[in-house]
Symmetry: C2
Subunit: 383 residues, 2 copies
C-alpha cells in the first residue's frame, strides 16, 4: 500500500525515537518529558489496583465519553457549567488528535506559538492544517503578531500551552491571558488550552486559565501523566457540549473508549486524602532539581549559554549562539547526555533559534550535575 | 468551530448509542457484541493485577509499538517471520483506524462485504473512502463480484471478518479463503483480516487465516476483548514491517502508546497455564447459548423468520420478510429486548435486506428465551 498523502511529510517524533537511545545504560536523559518514576503515587493507588480483580464490571465495554463516576468527579472538580461537558481520552495527546480530526480540514489555518509542542505539530500536520506561527515572548505570545494574524486570516483555532510551556517553560502573564481571550472572542477563534504542567507550579501564584476568560470559545486539555502516571494513558478534554459531542463521534471510530480499569484507579487516586500531599511533594522535588540545574548551568556552561527562569513545569530552554543544534544534540548523546535540539519544535525551519530543551524532572541532582558537565564539553566543541 | 468535512456525514454508532438504553433495568440485550462478564478471567489476572503497585516501571511512558515482552510473546505465538512486525493498539478498533489513516486518501476505493462491521464503516467513512460493497454468500464474499470489482477499479484494500463475521456470523470456506488471497495478490489489493472472534469456534475445524495465503499482501487485526476482557482496550496489528512502521507514526500522534499496565496484565493472562481452559469454557458456554437461542427461535418465531447456523462467534443473523427494521428494533426496545436492525450494517442503504443481528453471548439461556418471546410479539406486529 502507498502511504496516505497526509502521512507522506510526517517525520517520526524525534523525542519518541530517541527515547530508547536515551535510556541506554550510562546515558543521562534530559530529553524526554518524563516524570521521575520514584514519585509515582503507587502507594495511593495500591488499594484500588489490588481490588481490580473484584470489580468485574470495570472490565466490560464502557461508554465512549468515559467512566461515569470519573466524569462526575471532573465535572465537580473543574466546576463545569451545565452547558459544558468532558470526554476522557487515551492521554491528552488523543484529546488533541480528536479535536484536529473533528474540526480541522486540510488547508485550514491554525495558530501555534513558535517554538511549540512537538506532539501538537505532528497532530496538525497529520490533519494537513496550515500552521501559522506566532513568536513567543517571555510572558506569552507576541500580541501584535497574534492580532495581525487573526485579522489577516481565517483561523480555526489557536493551540497553546500557557502554563510552563513545552518546550520553553514560559508561563503567560495575566495580562496576556486576558488579551488572548479577548482576541479569540473578537475574531471567533477557538482557543485550545493544553495544561499538562499546570499543577507543577513551584513558585509564584496560580493564574486563571485563559479559558476562564472565554469559556464558550475554548476547550481545555488536561493530562494525568504528570500528576498521576503516564503509563495509564489518561487525559481529559472539556468544553461546550456542541464541541464535545463531535469528539465522541470520532472517538467511537478511534478506539471506542479508554481503559476503564485505569479510569477507576485514577478516580480513586484523585479522591485520595493524601493526593494533595503527593502533589506538594512533586513540586518540592522538581523545584530542588530545577534550582540545582540552574546552578550547574551557571557554574559549568560558557557564559554565552542563557537559560530562562521558570516557575514550574518540567523544562528550561537553553539558548545558544549560532550553531548546528542537531549535530550538537547527536554528539551530546554520544557523550552520554540526551537533550532535545530546538529544531524539532519549529514547524517552519526558517525561524529556528539555536537552543536546547532540558528536562529537570527525571534525573536526580547528582545526575543533573554530571549531565551539565558532559554537555559543557560538547557545547564548547560546537559553539 | 465548524465540523470538519470528514465528520459531517458520520452518524454516531447506533450500537454505542443504544448501549445505555439496552442496559436499562428490565431490558434484555441481544444488541451489543458484549461477552458475558461472568466469563472474565479475572481469577487468572488477579496475581498480576494485585502485583501492579510493585511494578513502577510499567507506569512510566512506554514505546509506541507496545510493551516489549508482550510484543515478543506475540511474535512467537503468531509465528511472525523476520520480515513482519506487530503494533499493540488501544483495541483492534484503533488498529483499523490507524490503517485507514496511514493508507487511505479521501476518495480512495476500499472494499467490504455487505453487510459489514459498523465500526469499520465508520472508520472508512471518516477517512472519506469510497466504499465498494460486495455481496456476502453463505461461505464468504461473492467471488465473481469481488473479481469484477478488483478488475474494474483501483482498490486500496479489502477489509473483512472471515471468522464468524460481524454481523452475520458467516465463516468463509477454505476454498473462498484461497481464492480471495489469490485475487488480492493478482490485483495488488491489501487484505485487512479482522479476526476478533477467531478463537470462539465451538464447532468444526479451524481454518487457516486468509492472510496465511498472502502474507505479504495482508495485515491481521486481533482483539483481546473477546478472549480476555474488553475494558482493558487492547488489540494487535501484524503485517509487513514497511506497513507497520507508518502505523507507528500515526499512533505517536494518536495516543503515544496504549496502557502499559494493562499490556503487562494481558501478557500474564495469555501465558497463564489455565488460559486454554478458560477459552474452552467460553466456547462451551457460548455453544450452549447459541443452541438454546436457535431452539427458541424455531419454537417461538413465525416460520418466515430464518436464522443462519453458525460455528462460532457471537452473532446470528435473523432474516425477516420485507418490513421496517428500524421501527421494529425501536419497538422491540420498548418491549424490553434490544436488537440491532440490519440497516446499520450497510454502507449503501439501497442494498439493505431486512434482518436483525442477535447476540447470544451476553444473556443467559433463560433470558435468551424471554428475549425471543418478547421479540415474537413485535415481529408479528411489523412483518
Amino acid at each position: 500500500m502507498k502511504l496516505a498523502k497526509s502521512l507522506q511529510e510526517i517525520q517520526p517524533s524525534y523525542i519518541r525515537e530517541i527515547l530508547s537511545a536515551a535510556s541506554a545504560p550510562g546515558v543521562i536523559s534530559l530529553a524526554g518529558g518524563l516524570p521521575d518514576e520514584a514519585t509515582f503515587p503507587l502507594a495511593l493507588m495500591a488499594k484500588s489496583l489490588t481490588d481490580l480483580p473484584n470489580q468485574t464490571q470495570l472490565f466490560q465495554y464502557g461508554n465512549t465519553a468515559g467512566y461515569a463516576p470519573l466524569l462526575a468527579h471532573f465535572r465537580e472538580c473543574y466546576q463545569l457549567p451545565p452547558s459544558h461537558d468532558g470526554i476522557v481520552c487515551t492521554g491528552s495527546q488523543q484529546g488533541l488528535d480528536l479535536i484536529a480530526r473533528a474540526f480541522v480540514n486540510p488547508g485550514d489555518s491554525i495558530v501555534m506559538e513558535a517554538p511549540s509542542y512537538l506532539g501538537a505539530i505532528q497532530v496538525f500536520a497529520l490533519a494537513q492544517a496550515t500552521i501559522e506561527s506566532v513568536s513567543q515572548r517571555a510572558d506569552g505570545p507576541d500580541l501584535e503578531e497574534l492580532a495581525a494574524c487573526f485579522a489577516a486570516k481565517d483561523i480555526t483555532l489557536f493551540y497553546a500551552v500557557p502554563d510552563f510551556h513545552n518546550p520553553t517553560g514560559v508561563c503567560w502573564s495575566l495580562k496576556v491571558r486576558k488579551k488572548v481571550a479577548e482576541l479569540c472572542k473578537q475574531y471567533n477563534v477557538a482557543f485550545i488550552e493544553d495544561v499538562p504542567y499546570r499543577e507543577l507550579r513551584f513558585k509564584g501564584d496560580y493564574l486563571p486559565l485563559v479559558s476562564s476568560f472565554c469559556p464558550d470559545n475554548s476547550m481545555v486539555l488536561r493530562s494525568y501523566s504528570k500528576i498521576a502516571t503516564p503509563g495509564i494513558r489518561l487525559g481529559l478534554v472539556t468544553g461546550r457540549k456542541d464541541w464535545i459531542t463531535p469528539l465522541n463521534k470520532v472517538k467511537q471510530a478511534a478506539d471506542l473508549h479508554s481503559s476503564i480499569p485505569m479510569q477507576a484507579v485514577l478516580l480513586d487516586l484523585l479522591q485520595h486524602h493524601e493526593f494533595e500531599q503527593h502533589l506538594a511533594g512533586l513540586r518540592r522535588l522538581y523545584k530542588a532539581r530545577y534550582q540545582a540545574l540552574i546552578k550547574q548551568i551557571a557554574l559549568k556552561l560558557p557564559s554565552y549559554c542563557h537559560s530562562n527562569t521558570v516557575e514550574g513545569g518540567m523544562f528550561i530552554w537553553l539558548s545558544l549562539p549560532e550553531c548546528d543544534v542537531d549535530a550538537l544534540a547527536k554528539s551530546a548523546l554520544e557523550h552520554g547526555v540526551a537533550v532535545v535540539p530546538s529544531s524539532v519544535f519549529y514547524q517552519d525551519s526558517s525561524n529556528i533559534t539555536p537552543a536546547l530543551r532540558l528536562n529537570f524532572t527525571n534525573a536526580n541532582i547528582a545526575k543533573l550535575g554530571d549531565a551539565i558537565e558532559r554537555l559543557a564539553k560538547v557545547i564548547k566543541l560546537y559553539c
